[in-house]
Assembly symmetry: C2
DNA sequence: TTGTACGCGTTATCAA
DNA sequence: TTGATAACGCGTACAA
């Protein structure tokens, strides 16, 4: 079933059919009705290959880095419902955590010819190296692009460094002085770097003693890695009353590791995560964490992108409000 | 950059370029080398729109129902790596939990012209109503298609009913007699229906008293719904020593609800989940559950599909081995 | 208001 | 071994 078939069936030409399909003007009411009815009956589906081969589909592209990332699933849904309220078609492309999202976008561009791109997650290095080849307006969501010299790349994210500092400040305010950190890799992930920097900011300000070699473990963002890293930290014999995990999933692994070593949370060790996954509030103990506003991040990402598409303008970089949840996995020392 | 540009650049014709690109025979070594080098230099990317517009890409399509489903993320990765070892290109299409996966596949078929389709998750009703319009061999993974009258629809899944029965048997063997169930909707989800049936099988066999009205809550597969349902069950005043949740996420919500009501797991109530999410073994207490072999399910799904594509043959329906994990959230009564 | 005809980038057929 | 050329289904000048 093609528009040609439709044309034959209705007695009109393919151009008229195409016009009806795309809601173009200059079609008689009668033609529109006839053709619409035929479309209905035949269950016609326009072939998007041909469509895009022909011309820009005026679409928006979303590139999601990390299929398993619990943060992104919900955000994709928000983006979808937001974009659905516009007339822009939306393409969502999922990829592995460790693929190069920028190269993928570059690869997709000649095919999809998007008006703009939203990156859900992204790596500084990849952008620095390859982003220059992308010309449409883009928004990097949930990573900070303000350090990147691209006029067509905006970003919306949590201020990881400040949020982490704030989280550490709060633990210090609760009386904690001895910390260990289960963080991300500081070399390869921006998140790992920024959240670690936030910790150091706070530690320095309060004169907290912290040994980067002994008190920090830079690992991957998973339950298992959080668990393993914590085991090593404990095994090394370091004493600590508070553990910060750079992601909730790591915090969960960490709590289990503490438990296995006879350390109770929060009586013996306070644990603070980062992300604010829904899961966290169902755990026993409920996970204290930095809650990122995923909805808001996604919403602003869409808004900025559409504005740049429609009105032009250079890059802008926004931080989204986060909130600190002191729940059950942290406690005031000496109470 | 198109193959036409490539042709000009190298002095060959588009046909030769195309042949090189697709590894076809009847190309001189010299031509192949020259063209390959030009491809390298120019960073040429074949336009898949044009490719698919022209002809069937001999691809395999994966339709994933439920972006947030923790089961599927890992399975998609397995499928990808398995199919990568063949010469079939793979398309993965993600959709909301409540979209109609069969209609989506029907829509995709004329465009992608896949040789076969893998459905990750699926609803009985959707298949019954619309699947007849799909002609290529398909495999439904993680739902049971054996009741469906389609010769081109195979399925690979856990035997939900038997697995649940087995899980309940095990709880009964531990001395439990009073159960409540936080299950899925029995009307709209196959999983809800089958896992409930499994419970009843076991209860009947052992003469366990169970009131469908009072002891069963059919809700959605989420933390919050598991939590809410358990709250209601507790509030209703029913006494029970064991709670079965039809999914691990529900079990987690349930455990929190029990905790909030001063009920300890497993001392006061044993909780058994279903799915075997990695998360479960990091919780405190570790979640007892039915472990579905996601890897194996995905692997068999791919194997069966490729076999049907290459050798034909009718539908086959397989159950994949599951295993019962008695971990820390269940205990023997009276010990 | 409508239809004809061309081109998008690719693959496949055929003749050279 | 190669190249010219006809499709694939659609959008859109341009002509009518």
């Amino acid at each position: 079933m093609t528009i040609k078939d439709l044309a034959e069936k209705t007695g009109y030409g393919v151009a008229t059919v195409s016009r009806v399909l795309n809601n173009h003007p200059n079609v008689s009411r009668k033609a529109r009705e006839t053709i619409l009815k035929a479309v209905e009956e035949s269950g016609f589906q326009t072939n998007s290959n041909a469509q895009q081969l022909k011309a820009a589909a005026k679409s928006i592209l979303v590139v999601v880095k990390g299929t398993a990332n619990e943060m992104f699933g919900e955000m994709v849904e928000t983006i979808q419902s937001l974009v659905a309220q516009t007339h822009y078609p939306l393409y969502v492309d999922y990829m592995d955590e460790d693929s190069n999202e920028v190269l993928r976008a570059i690869q997709l561009c000649p095919e999809k010819k998007p008006l703009g791109i939203i990156f859900l997650g992204g790596n500084d290095r990849n952008f620095r190296r390859d982003f220059a080849r992308i010309e449409v307006p883009c928004v990097l969501v949930s990573s900070d692009g303000s350090g990147l010299p691209f006029d067509n790349l905006s970003s919306v994210t949590t201020d990881d460094r400040q949020a982490t500092r704030c989280a550490m400040d709060s633990l210090i305010a609760l009386g904690h002085r001895k910390f260990v950190i289960v963080g991300g890799d500081r070399e390869t992930t921006d998140i790992g770097r920024l959240r670690y920097a936030g910790c150091l900011d706070s530690f320095r300000k309060h004169g907290i003693d912290f040994d980067e070699q002994l008190d920090y473990a830079g690992v991957r963002f998973s339950y298992q890695d959080g668990y393993d890293a914590t085991q090593r930290l404990i095994a090394s014999g370091r004493e600590f009353t508070a553990l910060f995990a750079a992601a909730d999933v790591m915090a969960i692994g960490a709590i289990r590791a503490l438990h296995n070593n006879g350390l109770r949370v929060p009586q013996d060790v306070s644990v603070m995560g980062f992300d604010g996954l829904p899961l966290g509030s169902f755990l026993v103990p409920q996970l204290s964490t930095v809650i990122q506003s995923r909805q808001e991040m996604a919403r602003r990402g869409v808004e900025i992108l559409i504005d740049r598409i429609e009105n032009g303008g250079g890059a802008c970089h926004e931080y989204i409000q986060y909130s600190l949840a002191q729940r059950e996995s942290t406690r005031r020392l000496g109470e």
